[in-house]
Assembly symmetry: C2
Homo-oligomer: 334 residues x 2
Amino acid sequence: MTPRIDALQYANWSEKIFRQMRAGGVDAVHVTITYHENFRETVLNIEAWNRWFERHPDLIFQGFTADDIDLARNTKRTAIFLGSQNPSCIEDDIGLVEVLHRLGLRFMQLTYNNQSLLASGCYEADDTGLTRMGREVVTEMNRVGMVIDMSHSGERSTLDAIAYSTRPIAITHANPASWHPALRNKSDRVLRALAESGGMLGFSVYPHHLRGGGSCSLDEFCRMVAETAEKMGIEHIGIGTDLCQDQPDSVVDWMRAGRWTKARDYGEGSADNPGFPPMPDWFRDNRDFGQIESGLCAVGFSPEEIGAVMGGNWARFFRQSFGAAERPDQEVAQ
Amino acid sequence: MTPRIDALQYANWSEKIFRQMRAGGVDAVHVTITYHENFRETVLNIEAWNRWFERHPDLIFQGFTADDIDLARNTKRTAIFLGSQNPSCIEDDIGLVEVLHRLGLRFMQLTYNNQSLLASGCYEADDTGLTRMGREVVTEMNRVGMVIDMSHSGERSTLDAIAYSTRPIAITHANPASWHPALRNKSDRVLRALAESGGMLGFSVYPHHLRGGGSCSLDEFCRMVAETAEKMGIEHIGIGTDLCQDQPDSVVDWMRAGRWTKARDYGEGSADNPGFPPMPDWFRDNRDFGQIESGLCAVGFSPEEIGAVMGGNWARFFRQSFGAAERPDQEVAQ
């Protein structure tokens, strides 16, 4: 059987949620550990994760390599892979890429919604593409084996990253803009370039990324997956739910406004709808991955295709992506 | 053949020195990367080491486990294991023990010469023994597999650490005080307790730790090794040269005075002799490990005993010490 993998969650972690991961048969999750936090603050977040790992070794452990997906499956636990949704964690210091990779950071977005030192977020009016430091950091991420994630980046920056990176990149949590024209969803041009370069798209079930929001039906969602499979190829798609379970609304304020503004930023929400939106009834939490599988079956995916979408593709991508770039003359520790 | 291991160096690193390690057939070195640096500054030092590893993969690589000693030997390189001579790097945050272990820190002294948050240095008038935080940090170092090094600590603190630690500890660079009564050398009581608990002593060739300083003869040094072998057992001794090659005297000022005083502290030196002392002529640098071997042979050690002292004992100790404490129900990543 292929593993079940979620390529993006940012929940208010608790034993309850870890037990729901097990109930949902989730073998691996890429979790966001940091947004606007600087390096030291990010390390504090890693320390907090270390305490979760120490407290619940029967439910979760930190994933470092793709082999940990198998270990999770064989020991009935969930491998937790760490990632960042913004490059604040490397500050202005490229040496922190390798340091954070050593600590287990396996994904880093080059931007959240704003301009970063590396590239432009999807809310900026002008998109610089990769900056001077952005190109250097992409090269360094390629070298050590940290995945470039462009989920929140602007169109030009994303195309730049796909072209400049020597290894496939990911958009861990977004949907096609042609299906639902949210600023965070991705153009067909981006999705095609992503697929052609061997990259991966994770489908989001975050309501702002869904046609009709939280009332989007499972059938609509799964038909969108099928259309995207036609467009990108079945091997380039997976799930990245963007599940923000049990978070208070203060957290979405932090995600959107960090420390870059004294005002409030509504991001994908609005003054009328400032908080976390309610989830679709067919995906409440980690226990509902089976619903997505059933939905994919109902719209005509084969069992093999469902396995690929629900985790097989991410497992392959993790295996290609998390190790150091090959150097013929030596072994390189993970 | 047994490996050749040096349990303490703090040189002004250069390609020249790495080539001398190879010329001296040194398979593994524990290098000091930090004294009074805080966490972020220590990470900058790790970043600097990462650049050395990237620039000279044919000469050196970072060691994480005892297997890396064999890898070094088989690929004719030197495995570099990182350590700290003071707990400034963990600040007041016990969570940084695991974080720094993940980054490869394999040794940490609970103190340099002064009182730390954890214990007392050998220059303090009153020795508190392990503090409240000291006991917690020893437990955490035991858990993750970071060696407690008491080379610079006071007598009571050292005996406390030996007794409290559930895993053997090390004194990586010091000699018996009964041979040369320097403040940094260790009493027979400490050396016996160290050996009885399975710990290791690394003999220093730093002139202030030698009878007669830099003019101590190889024969005198090797007779001291033989006497200590009688006292502690041959399996508890190794080499920890404390080689500070090519360092400017400003560095010994930093080691001694850090940021804790505005005055100058002479440590083991004096106003007349404030800088690094000249090394004995039989140990200029890494190329001279063969001289120590010859000296040990001349005072009657067998080839097997020489192998144990020159690296075999440290190799065994590294293997026992660097992994997480065993938990029966799971695998724990290194």
